[in-house]
């Protein structure tokens, strides 16, 4: 499978990465080189094989449903570009 220019623009939008017209061509070539490389996997017989879902067979650790490291709102927002009263500020989403 290979991607055309329109698909490159669609993937870029899905990935929320702005691409310029100049970037689309080279990206298309690079993505197609990678897709051509992984094409060989089509020849592997995977019938009856379960996909790996856990690297190490283990039961998921669980913990009590209690607050462990709460009460640190100021730390949580400390690195945000824009905040107000421990809230993240974003451009207006709803009119």
């Amino acid at each position: 499978m290979s991607v055309d220019e329109k698909t490159v623009r669609r993937i870029a939008h899905l990935a929320r990465i702005a691409v310029t017209d100049d970037e689309v061509g080279p990206l298309q070539g690079e993505l197609n080189a990678i897709l051509a490389f992984v094409e060989q996997l089509g020849a592997v017989d995977v019938s009856g094989v379960e996909p790996m879902t856990s690297v190490t067979p283990m039961a998921m650790k669980k913990r009590e449903d209690v607050v462990t490291e709460g009460g640190r709102a100021a730390d949580v927002v400390a690195n945000a570009p824009e905040t107000e009263d421990n809230y993240f500020l974003v451009p207006k989403v709803v009119e």
């Binding site: 993937i11 929320r16 690079e30 879902t53 190490t56 690195n79 945000a80 993240f88």
Partner: protein, 492 residues
Amino acid sequence: MDPNELTLAEARDALKAKRISARELTQAHLDAMAKARVLNAYIRETPDHALKMADEADRKLATGEARPLEGIPLGIKDLFCTEGVTTTAGSKILETFVPHYESAVSANLWRDGAVMLGKLNLDEFAMGSSNETSAYGNVVSPWRRKGSDAQLVPGGSSGGSAAAVAARLCLGATATDTGGSIRQPAAFTGTVGIKPTYGRCSRWGTVAFASSLDQAGPIARTVRDCAILLGSMAGPDARDTTCVDLPVPDFEAAVSRGVNGLTIGIPKEYRVDGMPAEIQKLWDDGAAWLKAAGATIKEISLPHTSSALPAYYIVAPAEASSNLARYDGVRYGLRVSGKDIAGMYENTRAAGFGREVKRRIMIGTYVLSAGYYDAYYVRAQKIRTLIKRDFEQAYAAGVDAILTPATPSSAFGIGEKASADPVEMYLNDVFTVTVNMAGLPGIAVPAGIDGQGLPLGLQLIGRPFDEETLFAVAQVIEEAAGRTILPEPWWS
């Protein structure tokens, strides 16, 4: 005694015997770092932090309360969050990010008395095999070809870690390995690096690339030094649900176990087309050394080996596209405004990510998108099951560890692999990536010097949670090959 030429184990003994103070040892490394800036191994030096920690270590040493790594100066890959110290992941998008918490792995090192010298350069978000994708510039290897002053890559993504250890700018370094990012740079720089079993070290507080493949591990100058460091870095952590609740073995004690009675597998599928004769000879030498030390050498088959790298380039980008969705200009890092919120996301990520990262996010987005998920992602995860099964069958047949070359070549020059085809660079990880896909431990150990005067490494792959056997076997190779003579400091 030149403090920069000590191994970590020797420095530990010298500190305990009071032949040197932690402050002297730390200052000697800070001085070496200041003279080695042309290598660009450190993104950020933290001398004030280092001296404060060294003074605390000297107090503990004086009162006989020394902890296992008391006063040992280390470099930290800039993928581990360090409280109050900028952590960039090699990316422009995190240029201003100052964590308010400490990664589990680095916290374990400080708990044991180690000293932080600074944050080490890396490929952006650990995506690369040459340290040429860092937003903070290339790392230059301390190694050069005989009779040439051309700049070589140190490997990647832990290129700063490997270069700093080889150039004696720290006694050891933390690193991470998603497809070979500890073992390939270790092999390129004549150092030792181990990727432990998936789940051995907590991933908490380490910037995520591909969560089912990422593991932290050390790079150091000897097998013993790696064993000492891993003993501190590893251990259970309730904050990472994939980190196992297993006690940490005495890795250092395993170093001198020897290989008598062990069976070492040689996988025939790793004998790839076009393998340089020098790599083949190195591999044969390694098998001969282990045989002479009492091991049994057995040819084995890992039939799905050639599928590992292409399957990796589906799984790793898929996980990366999901993990890196968090860099959206809202919670941390760079923000570039746009005409609406989607425009802000798109402009932020366009300006903040480099080319390789964008490429991988886009491949990952594509293989996870509607209509392609089963054909790519599910198929790759099935192939992963097959790769893991190959190893399980070899181990069930009595193999204790597997010996392979670490890399298909020695280090290459900066810019030499900058072609339009990204796959050419990806092929560097052909021998290491299987280990991540199966979640196994793997160690790279220097085993010789090629005709250009550059180091070559061998890799050992172990059973899950049996790093001890890897240390024992790697030690035999280190002794048989002789410790690599590291380059004289042309850079200072």
